[in-house]
Symmetry: D2
Amino acid sequence: MKEIVVGILGAGRIARVHTESITTGIPGARIKSVADPFATEETEKWAEEKGIEILTKDPSVVINDPEIEAILICSSTSTHAQFTREAALAGKHIFCEKPLDLDVERIRETMKIVEEAGVKFQIGFNRRFDHNFMALRQAVEEGKIGEPHIIRITSRDPEPPNPQYIAGSGGIFMDMTIHDFDMIRYLSGSEVEEVYCKAAVLVDPAIGEAGDVDTAVITLTMANGALGIIENSRKAAYGYDQRAEVFGSKGAIKSSNDSTSTAVLSTVDGVVSEKPLFFFLERYLASFTHEMKLFFNYIREGGKSPAGPDCALKPVQIALAVKESVRTGLPVKVE
Amino acid sequence: MKEIVVGILGAGRIARVHTESITTGIPGARIKSVADPFATEETEKWAEEKGIEILTKDPSVVINDPEIEAILICSSTSTHAQFTREAALAGKHIFCEKPLDLDVERIRETMKIVEEAGVKFQIGFNRRFDHNFMALRQAVEEGKIGEPHIIRITSRDPEPPNPQYIAGSGGIFMDMTIHDFDMIRYLSGSEVEEVYCKAAVLVDPAIGEAGDVDTAVITLTMANGALGIIENSRKAAYGYDQRAEVFGSKGAIKSSNDSTSTAVLSTVDGVVSEKPLFFFLERYLASFTHEMKLFFNYIREGGKSPAGPDCALKPVQIALAVKESVRTGLPVKVE
Amino acid sequence: MKEIVVGILGAGRIARVHTESITTGIPGARIKSVADPFATEETEKWAEEKGIEILTKDPSVVINDPEIEAILICSSTSTHAQFTREAALAGKHIFCEKPLDLDVERIRETMKIVEEAGVKFQIGFNRRFDHNFMALRQAVEEGKIGEPHIIRITSRDPEPPNPQYIAGSGGIFMDMTIHDFDMIRYLSGSEVEEVYCKAAVLVDPAIGEAGDVDTAVITLTMANGALGIIENSRKAAYGYDQRAEVFGSKGAIKSSNDSTSTAVLSTVDGVVSEKPLFFFLERYLASFTHEMKLFFNYIREGGKSPAGPDCALKPVQIALAVKESVRTGLPVKVE
Amino acid sequence: MKEIVVGILGAGRIARVHTESITTGIPGARIKSVADPFATEETEKWAEEKGIEILTKDPSVVINDPEIEAILICSSTSTHAQFTREAALAGKHIFCEKPLDLDVERIRETMKIVEEAGVKFQIGFNRRFDHNFMALRQAVEEGKIGEPHIIRITSRDPEPPNPQYIAGSGGIFMDMTIHDFDMIRYLSGSEVEEVYCKAAVLVDPAIGEAGDVDTAVITLTMANGALGIIENSRKAAYGYDQRAEVFGSKGAIKSSNDSTSTAVLSTVDGVVSEKPLFFFLERYLASFTHEMKLFFNYIREGGKSPAGPDCALKPVQIALAVKESVRTGLPVKVE
């Protein structure tokens, strides 16, 4: 098996998650260099521990290294499109964290460059590779529930981000619901045509003051005729609530939350099960690992991208339509 | 305990359910007479078996009987308002099956007459008295989930009615969802201010040809700020699907379906639990019994009606707004 | 349908449960008379309310009434065998509460008289008619789990009886586990050949002082080769714990507890479901009703008794063997 | 952090599982050498991939390497005791797969040598480190269920081993139930004093012909007064069934099986959840990883062994008593 040499742009939390997946679970892949303009001594120590040869502040060192075949873009969102272009032009296969960009035109142009460069491209919608959602998708694909009629996604964060973060995040729909927009495409095997969103500030007034909402109910009309529901909250007191259900002509399939153990305690106070896992990295760790496996598989074997250019574009288009629906109070067609 | 003498208008399925509840579970109540213009020999036999003294085709025999204190109106929907007026003017306490009428003005006038007559009035929204939904309501009332943020009702019938029935039923929202409109008021303890509905014909084209829809997703905005979701289908292949969840600032409470037994079979084919109960009378039997108990309690003890004039009016107003939303494709304020 | 006239011996709790089942759920059955030597004014009032014609202190008034076709024996255990004999000799069909007697010889003689009299006989092992256990039995009968290998019954009371009661009850195995002895016969479709029991006093020392145990683990060897486990406790803090599992060559089927509702509350404190129903009459009410239906069906239609003479005899034989095993510390063959 | 240099005896399946845990999850540990008399080219390739410096057929190369601080004994059972002695005498910390030996005297002597050498010793009862069983143990330790009264372990393999394997395995109690014997000690925090076992050949006659049983129900009496039940089968058609329940004065805690996803499919055929994980390495993978973490922690931090000499000795003593009980048909005191 030919070794795949990897470079990473960014050395933050998600870069480290992917590094872990690659070093412990992807035989035949080697992370040669990491570029991070904010690299500290701590970053150096980490890179050394992980056997990463080069730590630089200059992304072009990574992008232009002829030995490097694949690049993971784990830097801040505002750099995703630019780095993707540069990597594509340098002929590298690309794994880019979501979202590629918040601007539809920019995404389109970037994807065009990627396409013309003929490099492989995967965007970081890790939930497609979660054991629960994969089981739902598989049942739908195998026709076990017949034609999908109603797809429902319940997606509630355990804790709101701080209002400062919100300002730069593009708001709840670009930051949090974007996963659900991709998920409804994944589960339904269809595209979103129209949305209507009712949103509110019920969790924390500071979120409203920051110009965002924290609670939302979104109705989606799919191209295949199915109706979708996404419901979001920035704060579920009991933990990270990540469920879905697909209902169709022959039945329904639903997933529930993961927890630490199956233990159930029965006492005079009730019958108590464990709460859902709280932290997203704990909840979705295996999906990140699986995502990396599929990325390297895709490089080696070709085929369809596990999450290709359509996943870079469509969820952003849906998010924009939803924002427009919140602004106007009306249903909005997705571009 | 003073005996309460009861008359029933109508001798169909629901009249018999209430008769059963009264004769077997309400001490101190006696059904003296039943009026049904379509009474047959079979009806006579049934009335005799149940110890009902008088079976007549003439409702006025029941309404004007001075011995009768309470009347159950179980006749066809088109007669509900008229019989309610007559019974009120005759000074009888009234239990009327839902809906009172499909016309808001008519409901208002009728409720005014009831109020002026000073008689007790309860409308047949039996699901308020279902063990699962009562448990949800109680948790909400006790503040266990904090302030309600999102209320979700999943309500799917096991089988669509025949298209002929649909024509005379007022359509899915008046016939089926009307229960859910009342339920969201019950669970939230608040009123619906605005609705948006996306609906489709996915189950059976014949339903569309009859001018109705069979699949619907409704977003509701409540006066207390909470957002609501109702999702309906006329056909769930696995049975009668009746679930709800109330999510709030401190947590969430949800109910799942009832089934015949708790048995779980594990074999090479999977781990199989029982399907939800299929037939509404089986699923909601206990709620009908409890409904009757509360009606007779209300007559004896007074207090607030378990399902008073607001329940006669509001769900119909919501249904009309939802129909308008489907017609216009826009959100609609509830009158 | 020919009316079946019924007499009841005893007017205590269980007599009233059966009265309720008959008056509200068995068309064509009429309770004519009740005999109870301890009848009070309260008893009279109850009998009148239920439309019972004769309330007497003399059982022979019931037993010798030629109009009476069926007798329910709901008196104290010590009278069961004698009343069964007298009723059989008087040609009445008999429903007798369990146990028939604590003495094997007496049971045998009584059953011989019943047989010679050619009357129908059913003993009150109501759990055979519980929805959960019936579902298990049905799966076993239909071969869904293949050949039974291990049958497990978990049977824990919510609260111990008072030590005075224990003295007269024949001890935990005759009083409480006797139901489980019959249940393992029912679930396995086989007979118990050998038992070994390890027992202890862990709940309340007063139970030990009364000469009984309150915690027991019993291993049973069935004639069909399956192994059985019964585990008992006199006190489960969380309620009445009544579960079973049958494991076989093709799989397993198990039941769990019933509770008031399906509501599940998720908060920062955990995910909390309802406790099992606490009171045996609440838990098993439907089984008592079904038991009566089957008794009257059996009278009308004939066939095999739903719980015939073998059920009167075998569980007592097993209980005696278990007591012997506790006494000797050794496995004991069932007679 | 000082590096811990590790040697492994054996290069089979379990050696590789531990290698994976160490290389991917234990910072500061390095596997220097592996000894396996049956090493093949495939083994060499594996060792190279994992960065293992020395692959030898001679265990003494590992045991006598002064650089090596800790040895994992993953060779065949018959060599465990001898290697443990040699490693102890060489002053190495020892992790040894279970069982240490099938002979009580030999275990005692070996443990004495280990103790005198003052090296750290841990035996491979990985289930102590499983998320579900740890949750049960924690609840018991925290007093959430009060005093333990009944401890129940359901342990059923998905498929029987082939009869040839059985011959050399010491039989079901030494090979399979030995885990459960340790588990009941772990869950109860107490020792087994007496056992009674009823066993049968119900799965496959070939197992009986090999002198073993395949189905067993074991009653255990604990030193703290609690009663235990272990039930085993060599074949559960639906997968690897690994559950436990601890019932006590204040309540009960139980675990259920792990499966691939939380997906539940509802169709006309029923409500179907996923089967338990089938393969023990899949089911217990995380426990093996955790086990290794605790071993290296124990080396660094000292304290009590996560599974010390008592775990090497006691389960074997219990297994011998159980075998004696099967042979004699009588309860047997554990030595």
